[in-house]
């Protein structure tokens, strides 16, 4: 089938195109559209991040202390460098400089590998201390103590004020009306509930936690204050962290595979004629991966 399908004269020109220009335009436009979908894909995650962060700022304030800013910064530099080498690779392909192209691809690949290596160090550190996503979240005591002290000293006050707002039942979702428990419960009901003489019957649950009796309220309050050191949902921060960096990591791996493929094509001499579209497309992809990382770095590591 394929044989009869491709009967062009020029080996670079697929049979269904009229000329190379048309072919180049097509793959370029296709790549741009693909990148749009990639950005929308991460865009959804960023939206979820924003909503959660607006509702629970204390979780993020708390969580980001466990991320290593200097490793993150290092990785940012590494990726920016790799973007540069990729851009250079495109230039080399355009100018038919096979040796330089090859070198740049190798360099980009190595830099991408470095990025993953650093990421591995970060991940294993978290693994070691049990700072994992929600269901595996079991931080060991001393890392908490370490961070707790630091948090209390450096950010004590603002953390308190913010965490008070984060009471359960205050999940103000995206344009969604929700009412804090205190405003909602009529005073009389609370009294009735406390005083079993008036009625023999307890109120039904008024919330998932059933926070109606004064004792329960006091307990909840205490729990909320404890939030300063270790907010109840800190684990969610790590879920978000692993989700976003993990997805990004997968994209890095895909990029590296693409670089290997380009390298192979280079060695076969495919780009000697100056048909750099493939290199160009992969480079575009790589820039987007880089860009996404910069946002991740800003939003996860550099919160305050």
């Amino acid at each position: 089938m394929a044989g009869s399908h491709f009967t062009g004269h020029n080996p670079d020109l697929a049979h269904h195109f009229e000329n190379l220009d048309q072919q180049r335009q097509s793959s370029r436009l296709g790549m741009w559209l693909f990148l749009v979908t990639e950005i929308l894909f991460f865009g959804g995650l960023f939206c979820a991040y924003v909503v959660y962060r607006v509702n629970h700022p204390e979780v993020f304030i708390f969580g980001h202390h466990f991320l290593d800013k200097s490793l993150g910064a290092l990785n940012t530099v590494v990726l920016i460098c790799s973007s540069l080498t990729m851009a250079w690779a495109v230039r080399a392909a355009q100018l038919k400089q096979r040796a330089i192209l090859q070198l740049m691809l190798v360099l980009s690949f190595v830099l991408a590998g470095t990025f993953l290596g650093v990421k591995y160090v970060e991940y294993s550190h978290k693994w070691h201390h049990g700072l994992l996503w929600a269901s595996r979240y079991a931080p060991d005591a001393h890392i908490l103590a370490e961070a707790g002290v630091e948090v209390a000293e450096a950010h004590g006050e603002e953390a308190v004020s913010e965490s008070i707002e984060g009471v359960p039942g205050d999940e103000i979702g995206l344009a969604v009306e929700a009412l804090p428990v205190d405003e909602v419960l009529p005073e009389t009901l609370l009294e009735n509930a406390a005083d079993s003489e008036i009625s023999k019957i307890a109120p039904a649950a008024v919330g998932p936690a059933g926070l109606v009796t004064p004792e329960a309220r006091a307990a909840a309050e205490a729990e909320r204050n404890a939030v300063i050191v270790n907010p109840a949902n800190a684990k969610t921060f790590f879920s978000v962290y692993f989700l976003m960096t993990g997805l990004h990591g997968i994209h890095v791996i895909l990029g590296m595979i693409a670089m290997l493929w380009l390298l192979k094509l280079t060695r076969q001499g495919v780009f000697d004629g100056g048909h750099y579209t493939k290199v160009d497309n992969i480079a575009l992809y790589w820039h987007v991966v880089d860009l996404i990382w910069i946002y991740l770095f800003l939003l996860m590591y550099l919160i305050d």
């Binding site: 929700a178 009735n192 023999k200 307890a202 109120p203 039904a204 919330g207 998932p208």
Partner: protein, 336 residues
């Protein structure tokens, strides 16, 4: 507004007053806002029927008049655009939808802002029943309300999302875990109306129903008084049985030996129950108490840990009554 007036008249013709305002399309109108909603429904219906008939008639006339005949296989070229026509058939629908939107929004505002003097009842949804808590703390499985008085519902869910729906009142509002939502209505006609759960919530979704009982004004207060004190006036076994019915146990536990979502209560007391972790436990007062307060502490083999906790929701004397009731289901005391 000639069109709307005309429609109002037509609708009055087909509405049977003795049926509480029910029509071919709508259930009876039993709340103050139902009339408004139905009016708008009929208004849109009028517009829709008009356009639908127009489209179908024009289409059929063309089919008959211009159908293909021998030697007439292609039509000679004629005008293929007319800007004035296009503007007309863009403009008229625009005007109409603006009107529809306006009325929809207006009556929505009335539906969503409860009057200040509303009587407040708390609603809790859980798989798969409703419970309604009155201001004095009394809990019932059905919603009792006074007629001609605005009632505001403050709602939340224990597990997944449900939706509180009373067709006769044209009221619907989702009941969401972790948050409160509000709905209000003012019932106009004493009687009983269905409450449905309108948001899919699992196995028992279609059976998650209850009734609204609208008491004539003046009769609601006395009813509440009487209903609230049942434990004082009943024996523990009777009281326990009533609790079993109104607090949702019935939903998952049978009293005749059949298995539902949970194990049956029949001959439960004193039985040796094997648990999922391989241990066995003898069902006594303490175990029942624990099953209510911490249902997942010991999970019975063959069942899933889905029973909600009643911690903070059942008082000691209620638990005692439930235990008394479960004890009485020994197959001898005459209880089935």
């Amino acid at each position: 507004m000639i069109l709307t007036g005309l429609f109002d008249m037509m609708m009055r013709l087909i509405r049977a007053p003795e049926d509480g305002g029910a029509t071919f399309w709508m259930p009876p109108q039993s709340s103050t806002i139902a009339g408004e909603v139905d009016w708008l429904f009929n208004f849109i219906l009028g517009i829709s029927v008009f356009f639908f008939v127009l489209i179908v008639v024009v289409m059929l006339v063309f089919v008959v008049k211009y159908r293909r005949r021998e030697g007439w296989e292609t039509a000679p070229a004629s005008t293929s655009h007319n800007t004035l026509l296009e503007l007309t058939w863009t403009g008229i629908p625009v005007a109409l939808v603006v009107v529809i939107f306006f009325f929809g929004f207006k009556s929505y505002l009335n539906m969503s802002t409860p009057p200040a003097n509303a009587y407040e009842i708390q609603v809790s949804g859980q798989k798969w029943n409703w419970s309604f808590t009155y201001p004095n703390g009394y809990v019932d499985q059905n919603l009792h309300v006074p007629a001609d008085r605005p009632v505001e519902l403050l709602m939340t869910s224990v597990d997944v999302i449900h939706s509180f729906y009373v067709p006769a009142f044209r009221v619907k509002m989702d009941v969401v875990p972790g948050r409160y939502t509000k709905a209000w209505f003012e019932a106009t006609m004493p009687g009983e109306y269905n409450i449905f759960c309108a948001e899919y919530c699992g196995t028992g979704h279609s059976d998650m129903s209850a009734m609204v009982i609208v008491h004539p004004s003046g009769e609601f207060g006395p009813w509440l008084e009487k209903a609230s004190n049942f434990l004082l006036t009943m024996t523990p076994v009777e009281g326990g049985r009533k609790l079993y019915e109104i607090r949702g146990c019935q939903q998952c536990h049978s009293v005749d030996g059949g298995a539902r979502t949970g194990p049956t209560f029949f001959k439960l007391f004193g039985k040796d129950e094997s648990l999922t972790d391989g241990l066995t436990v003898t069902v006594d007062e303490n175990y029942i108490r624990e099953s209510l307060l911490e249902p997942n502490a010991k999970v019975v083999a063959g069942f899933e840990a889905v029973m909600p906790t009643y911690q903070g929701r059942l008082k000691d004397d209620e638990i005692a009554a439930l235990i008394a009731y479960i004890k009485s289901l020994d197959g001898k005391t005459g209880e089935e």
